[in-house]
Point group: D2
Chain length 162, copies 4
C-alpha cells in the first residue's frame, strides 16, 4: 500500500475498533516509530517493546504482556516465550563474545511449566558452558508475580563476523 | 493513543518511511484488518499472515518471509521459527483431539540446521505418539527452495475444555 | 581381586543364586568373553550383547531385554534406552563420515512414549541434516512387537581423528 | 550356563586376562554380590557401583569411572552419563513424592560440554518445577576435578503406585 492507502486502512480499522484493537494499534505504531528512530535493531524487538540489560552475569529482557503476543486463550503464545528466551540467551552470548565474533543458535529446548499471564514477562539468561566453538546457556522466564513459566537451555555456534 | 493520535503517528512514520517500512506497515495493518474481520483467531497469526491446512495426516502452516520476522542479519528469527513450529504442531494436536479436549505445549526442542531465507517458510507437523494424557509430535520447517531449516519435537498435555 | 578371589566370589554368588542371577552371570561372562576375543569394541556393547548393522540409510542396533538393563519395576532403564540411541545415532554418523573424521555427541533429547518390555529392543537411526561441522540425527527405539518406546534427536560435532 | 559352565568360562577368561580385564571382572562380580545381598535395588545400580544421597535439596549420585562405562576412546559413554542423570533426577523426584506416588521419565535433554574422564563422576539433581501431574528437574554431571561435563533437564509424569 502507498501512504494514502495506509491511512485509509487505518481509518477503516479505527472506525469499528474496540479498546483492545486501539491498544494493539498503539503498540504496533509506537514500536515501529522506535525502530525507525534506530532505538531498536529489529522489528521484532520494537514490536514486542523489549528492554534488555546485562547485569551481574545475567542478560535480562522484559516485555509487556499485551494482546499481540497472546493465543486465543489469552495466554502468552509459546512461540513468543521462545522468542524471548532465544533473544535473551543470544544477547548474553553476544555480550560475552569479542567484537569480531558472532553466534547462531543451533538448538533450543524449552519446558513450559506455568501459563504466561500478568502484566509483563522477564527472561533471565545465564551461562552454562563456554567452549572455543560452542556456548551453552540457560534461560528462565518469569511472570511479574515471580512465578517461573518456562525453563530453557540452548546451544550457540561461534562464527567470525564479517 | 486515540484515533487522532494514531493517524498522526502513522503520518509521522510514513513521512520519512523507506520502502521496507511501508511494506511493514502494509503487513501490520492488513493483518490487523483480517483479525478484526475474524478471518484469524489471534493477532500473532494475523500479523504473520499464517495460512494453515490439514492434509494427508500433516498439519502445515506457511508464512511469507518479511522484514517483520527477521533478526538484524536479515535471517528469520529463531523465535519466529519456534512460533511457526509450536503453532503447526499445536494445530495438528487440536485437529486430532475430540471437540471437548484441548492441549497445552509442555516442552519443545528445536534443531536449527540452515538459515531462514527466501520468500516463505512452510512448517509441516506430524504425529509421533498419541497417548491418553500426552501427545508427542514432530515438526519440520522448510524454505521455498525445499531446504530444511529446522527440526523439532514437542509434547502436549491433554486437558478438558472449559 | 586376583584370579582365585574371583573364582571364590563367583562360587559364593552361584551357591545361593536363583535362575535370574544365573542368567545375569551368563550374560556378563559371555559378554566379557566376546570383548576379550575382540568381537566387540567396548565393554558396554559386549555386556549389552548389542548387534548393529547399516542398511537402507539406517543404522540399527538390537539388544536383548534382560534383567541387567531393567529398573526396579522390570522396565528397561531410560538410561539404557539412551545408551542404545546414542550408540545407534553415533554408529550412523561414523558410517557416514570419511575415515579421517570422527564425531562427538553434543546434545541428545529423548521422548519416552511407552514402557520398554518384551524380548528385545531395536533402535533405528537416520540422518536429519549433514553440515560441514555438525550432523543432526533422529533415532527411534521399538519393542519386538513393533511398539515405539522412545524417539530422539541428537547433534554431533565433527572432529579430526588423531 | 549352569554353575559349572560359569566357573569354566570365568577360568577361560582369567587365563588370558590382562589387568584391565581382571578389574572389570572384579567390578562385575562384586557388584552382583551387592545386588544379591539387597544392598542395591537394580543390576544397573550395582554394576555401576552407584552411591546416592539426598542433602540440601539436591539428590546426588557418584560412580567410579571404570573401563566398563567407557567408549572405544576411553571416555565415559554418553549413554552412561544419561543413565546417571536419569537415575539422579528420578531419585530426586521419588524423594519428593509421597509414598503412594511414583513417577516415570517422559523426556530428557542432555548437553554434553566436556569429556567424561578422571576417577569418578558425580551427578547433582535439583528441582525446577513441581506440578500436580508433572515434575521438571535439572541435573549436572561433574568430574572429580569439578569440571562440568553434562547439563540436563527432564520431565517426569506422576503416577499412583500399584
Amino acid at each position: 500500500m502507498n501512504k494514502e492507502e495506509l491511512v485509509n486502512t487505518l481509518n477503516e480499522i479505527t472506525q469499528n475498533a474496540n479498546q483492545e484493537e486501539l491498544d494493539v494499534l498503539t503498540l504496533l505504531l509506537s514500536g515501529l516509530k522506535k525502530k525507525q528512530h534506530n532505538e531498536k535493531k529489529s522489528y521484532i524487538g520494537s514490536l514486542l517493546h523489549a528492554e534488555g540489560e546485562y547485569k551481574d552475569d545475567l542478560f535480562s529482557i522484559t516485555i509487556p504482556n499485551t494482546p499481540i503476543i497472546q493465543n486465543a486463550l489469552n495466554i502468552v503464545h509459546g512461540g513468543i516465550t521462545a522468542t524471548l528466551l532465544d533473544s535473551a540467551m543470544g544477547g548474553l552470548v553476544h555480550h560475552i563474545l569479542p567484537p569480531d565474533k558472532a553466534a547462531v543458535t543451533t538448538e533450543i529446548k524449552i519446558n513450559y511449566v506455568a501459563p504466561g499471564v500478568g502484566k509483563e514477562l522477564t527472561c533471565k539468561a545465564n551461562l552454562i558452558h563456554k567452549g572455543n566453538k560452542t556456548i551453552v546457556t540457560e534461560g528462565k522466564v518469569y511472570r511479574d508475580d515471580g512465578t517461573l513459566i518456562a525453563h530453557s537451555t540452548a546451544s550457540f555456534f561461534i562464527i567470525n563476523r564479517g
